[in-house]
């Protein structure tokens, strides 16, 4: 018997909803069978906590006296540049932005101690941040310079807006070359010295709804410790990749664009992160509830680490040079065991995404729903599906043309 989100929400309001995490549902489905489990369970909660580079926040810092327009000028938060292309006092800071004076990789490998991700964490933590803004001056916005400490509680709006989060599956990174390399997948030791992976596996939101049947535009989520929403597919959304018979993609696939009010989020779930030799980013906590509307959806949520495969990719040559193919496939159960085998060699693995924290998020979301404090939403539109034809393309480079009196 199919359920609706409205029915599930009624049960949530009465405190009668049956909610389990994406880990707990595995055992439940094995014990009771998927049909019975689907009848009994209302919501399965998922979670993930990992670095998500395509993240940022926009702020309206309020007009000055006299007025200034930083749009077309510059703005800096703790020396980290924010984007000033939105009107007078709206600015956007990205997680990977770094100070103009940061040495970057000029002394290799760079430390990247502070950047956009840390600014966002500091603001959410209630810390004062140094804001410096300049404008070119107009009749209506005559002021040209402002510098002041600002605090998140004084901002008119502080909105986390992340163009690409929650990657559905990711690569396992290794290094075939003879020297250490520094990447967004961490420090990789030469000659298959180590392997790093980044996914919550069986707890991961999109891996529990692999064909995007329930997660869509308007889905209410746990974001950064507060409430957020899925607002679009994320950039690089690539639903048409190869999948297992269970619909689970075997390489990076779907992504989510998410947003929420930064003022109700927590520094525990939004952490600035520094990757030596690579840059700064923001580690984001996301949890998505999956309404169990029918048995098919329940079956998807009962996915196990051993059912989720990832591609082993060489990040010394193949990845930077865009060479297709992989060194093989491994599953998340193998990755989490601490060692995998590639080309006959046993390699130690390291996780970049925290499974322990993903579990905490899934549990926290479960408790919010059980208490009646979190209602599910019906997506207003679904994400582009596996057969939508949407693909992630490389840049087609074309020469710039000089137009002269055409």
């Amino acid at each position: 018997m199919a359920k609706t989100i409205q029915e599930i929400n009624e049960r949530i309001k009465k405190g009668k909803a049956v909610v389990v995490t994406a880990e707990e549902v595995i055992e439940l489905a094995e014990k009771k069978g998927t049909k019975k489990a689907a009848q009994e369970v209302d919501v399965v909660t998922t979670g993930t906590f990992g670095p998500m580079c395509s993240s940022g926040a926009y702020f309206n810092f309020g007009h000055t006296k006299p007025r200034i327009k930083v749009g077309g000028g510059t703005s800096y938060l703790n020396n980290v540049p924010a984007y000033t292309g939105f009107a007078a006092v709206d600015i956007y800071i990205g997680a990977t932005a770094i100070p103009d004076g940061d040495p970057r990789n000029s002394v290799f490998p760079g430390e990247f101690n502070y950047g956009g991700g840390h600014v966002i964490e500091d603001l959410v933590n209630g810390k004062d941040v140094a804001f410096v803004g300049t404008g070119y001056g107009t009749d209506c916005y005559p002021r040209k310079h402002v510098e002041t400490l600002i605090n998140i509680k004084d901002l008119n709006e502080a909105v986390l807006f992340n163009p690409r989060n929650g990657y559905q599956n990711y690569n396992v990174a290794v290094n075939l070359s003879d020297k250490v390399i520094y990447t967004y997948m961490g420090m990789l030791q030469p000659r298959l010295g180590n392997a790093n992976y980044c996914s919550a596996g069986q707890l991961s939101p999109l891996l529990n709804d692999p064909l995007y049947k329930t997660i869509g535009i308007g889905t209410r989520i746990f974001l950064g410790g507060g409430i957020g929403y899925v607002v679009w597919n994320g950039t690089q959304h690539n639903p048409g990749v190869k999948r297992t018979p269970g619909g689970v993609p075997t390489s990076p696939a779907g992504t989510l664009a998410v947003m929420g009010d930064l003022k109700q989020m927590s520094p525990q779930w939004l952490k600035g992160a520094s990757f030596t030799g690579y840059g700064v980013t923001l580690t984001v906590g996301i949890g998505i509830p999956i309404p169990i509307l029918n048995e098919e959806i329940l079956v998807h949520t009962a996915v196990k680490d051993e059912d989720i495969k990832a591609q082993v990719v060489d990040y010394s040559q193949a990845y930077p040079q865009v060479q297709p193919g992989s060194l093989g496939e491994v599953n998340y159960s193998q990755l989490k065991s601490g060692t995998i085998e590639v080309n006959g060699k046993k390699i130690n693995t390291g996780g970049i995404s925290s499974y322990a924290k993903a579990r905490e998020i899934a549990q926290s979301l479960k408790q919010s729903i059980e208490k009646g404090a979190f209602l599910l939403t019906e997506p207003v539109a679904l994400l582009p599906s596996a057969d939508s034809g949407v693909t992630f393309k490389l840049l087609n480079e074309r020469p710039l043309r000089k137009t002269r009196g055409k």
């Binding site: 906590f49 990992g50 670095p51 490998p109 961490g186 420090m187 180590n194 392997a195 790093n196 952490k271 992160a273 520094s274 990757f275 030596t276 980013t281 580690t283 989490k336 065991s337 601490g338 130690n348 693995t349 390291g350 996780g351 970049i352 995404s353 925290s354 499974y355 322990a356 924290k357 579990r359």
Partner: protein, 135 residues
């Protein structure tokens, strides 16, 4: 059998003194040099492990104390900020001694400072400054 790990900070005028040689020859100790950062005319840093009979290790320590150098137990030199750790396990495969290790389920990371040799590889790898080394 006693083992002791210490961090020695040597002023520029003492870096050419055969400290390790004296510990071995005069105090009958096994000395493992875990880390050495010695540059002529600059302050030097030695991380060593002394092992031998208790009274000999104590005598060796007394000898070191008599020199004008800064001595610090290794454990104090390295701080693992558990409150900052997100238990991602990123650091675990980089640790050559297993001082950073995961629990049985493979999820929670913990730090055994007795095994740490201050190689600092984890510091390069951890994105959240969980491991701090104090000079």
């Amino acid at each position: 059998m006693k083992k002791k790990r210490v961090v020695l900070t040597l002023p520029p005028d003492l870096i050419e003194q055969p400290i390790v040689y004296n510990l071995i020859k005069n105090h009958d100790l096994m000395v493992s040099i875990l880390r050495a950062n010695i540059t002529p005319k600059e302050q030097g840093r030695l991380v060593i492990e002394l092992s031998g009979e208790k009274r000999k290790v104590d005598a060796g320590m007394a000898y070191l104390s008599g020199l004008e150098i800064e001595i610090q137990p290794l454990a104090q030199d390295i701080k693992w900020h558990e409150d900052r750790c997100i238990h991602c396990t990123f650091c675990v495969p980089t640790c050559p001694t297993g001082a950073l290790h995961r629990d049985e389920e493979g999820l929670q990371v913990s730090f055994n400072k007795d095994k740490c040799i201050a190689c600092e590889l984890c510091i390069k790898v951890c994105p959240y400054n969980v491991v701090e080394i104090q000079f």
